[in-house]
Amino acid sequence: MKIHEFQAKELLKVAGVTVPDGIVASSPDEAVEAFEQLGGKLAVVKAQIHAGGRGKGRFKEHPDQPGVVLVRSAGEAREHAERMLGSTLVTIQTGEEGKQVNTLLVEAGLDIASELYAGVVVDRAAGGPVLIMSSEGGTEIEKVAHDSPEKILNCNVDAGYGLQAAQVRKLAHQLGLSAAAAASAQKFLPKLAKFFTDNDCTQVEINPLVVTAAGDFVALDAKVAFDDNAMFRHKELLELRDLNEEDESEVRAGNAGLSYVKLDGTIGCLVNGAGLAMSTMDLIKHHGGEPANFLDVGGGANVDQVTEAFRIILADDNVKAVLVNIFGGIMKCDVIVEALLAAYDQVGFTVPLVVRLEGTNVEKARSMLAESGKDIIAATDLTDAAQKVVASISA
């Protein structure tokens, strides 16, 4: 689960991680008020959407308006807020459709001496959290890793004992920090690492991490995401979820216990199992089609779930045909076909439906399909299924 920058900064501040003074605004008046409260000299107005690349992003309605802007007067604050609020920001990460901006974060300007990068993620190979730092703040860390890997510093964090002073000293030395900045690092970095483990984060990224002229560490930006599987022990964090930032059909699927990801193609897929669902997309592509979605209906597919899955798939106007690919294991094929047929009646199909079944009780399931009298195209194996569903579109 991702949260907004202003929410992340509120949490970080409580955890003792220094962030700039900032005020949230959801109207031009509030933006002006925030500007005045922050000293009335210099402030940054930042559009709040989950996607990155806001500074370089532009609004659909105002092609010259960036998503992050420096303002020096109340008038400027108002003008920018008026253009940003309610408008659609398109960045490198939002896709062409962009995201509507409903909230702004107004922050006091800082006396910046240098910009660093700090991020915490779980390193799969190390089997624990790792703090990643770089002197190249402000740049995408993937780009730094690609262009100058020697500038990436990795430091394993013990999830139980936290980041150790000696580790911070080493990082400070590697980053060439001044004595004052190194002292700030000793306060800032262990708290950042602790925030990650205390809140079951999957990502905490501070980019840039500013070193002020006085040598203080300040989180100028903050990107935080949490482990969905751990939300049962962080119920308070669930309130930070912003459904406006999520795809409507993906939210709907989640509520039905389905795993769904919308894609751009024309062939909808309904599959049991995540690996097989991914492979089914690959199979469609391999045979010249384009998958419209990833959908894992899970191991215990019942009528309600299959019906909802079909409805979600068919709600996508791009879908011109649907492929059902089931490998019945413990969940027998005939049980799944029963659900399929019931769902078929409830949903009302207007596009071709190709069904491939394999596994337990497949013979019985196939004859049920054949005897149903419904307009369902049966496939004998994976390749046959892919060919038939691709052909059903071009025909």
Partner: protein, 300 residues
Amino acid sequence: MSILVNKDTRVICQGITGKTGLFHSQKCREYAREVRTDSDVFVGGVTPGKGGQTVDDFPVFNSVAEAIEKTGANATMIFVPPPFCADAIIEAADSGIQLIVAITEGVPTLDMVRVSHYLAKTSARLIGPNCPGVITPGVAKIGIMPGYIHTPGTVGLISKSGTLTYEAAWQLGNIGLGQSTAIGIGGDPIIGTNFIDLLEMFENDPDTEAIMMIGEIGGDAEIQAANYIKDHVTKPVAGFIAGQTAPPGKRMGHAGAIISGGAGTAAEKMDALEAVGVVVAQSPADMGKAMQEAITRKNG
């Protein structure tokens, strides 16, 4: 021979009084009784607070330690709900269980960090979590896979996914290639046993003649496996990577299946495997064929 599961394996189920735990314990017992008659493989279960009960002839114990003492169990299959799974794994390892198969899906990643730290101090081996389990066809299965799709044979099968493992076993079986042991290692970011551990075991197992490995997007375990294969594996290897069409930044069902920052793509993993001589199937329909080709290439 085989790996992980053999004729001396005795299994308990942690979470046996839950609906799913009992159902799969019954299925595993059925499978073992069908394929061999010498002794019972599934010997009981554990649910704290419910010791002394019996569910469908399975004795239930309060703790893993008690279950070991009474039944001689040396392996466990875990079905407890996600919030309690890490603790169940630690209890099993602490009690001396050697093989821990965690089926549970949805375990918090940081719980698995704690588990990894703990297991490093013990001799226990963990498979999973979020996996279908382990089967040595004709001997025993510990997991949720349908037994009949796996035939005994000489291919070692390793996979991150459940149904895709079934698909592979099915395709292999159709061309007469049974499996020595098939393992679903799980689709989470942190798992107990990785490709490399199992590649090493299969390489050393005299009854395994070829290896099939099925990976997916996310992380770099497949690339590390490729490096390992280059230096240490002499047996023919075939592979498949799921998620060639997956978009970056989106989690594809499995917690670990995500391309982040442009890394962990199917293309880079397929290239790495092909570069070390692994025959990589381009289509999931060709996994069996790829294994056949790898065997022919090595022997011919």
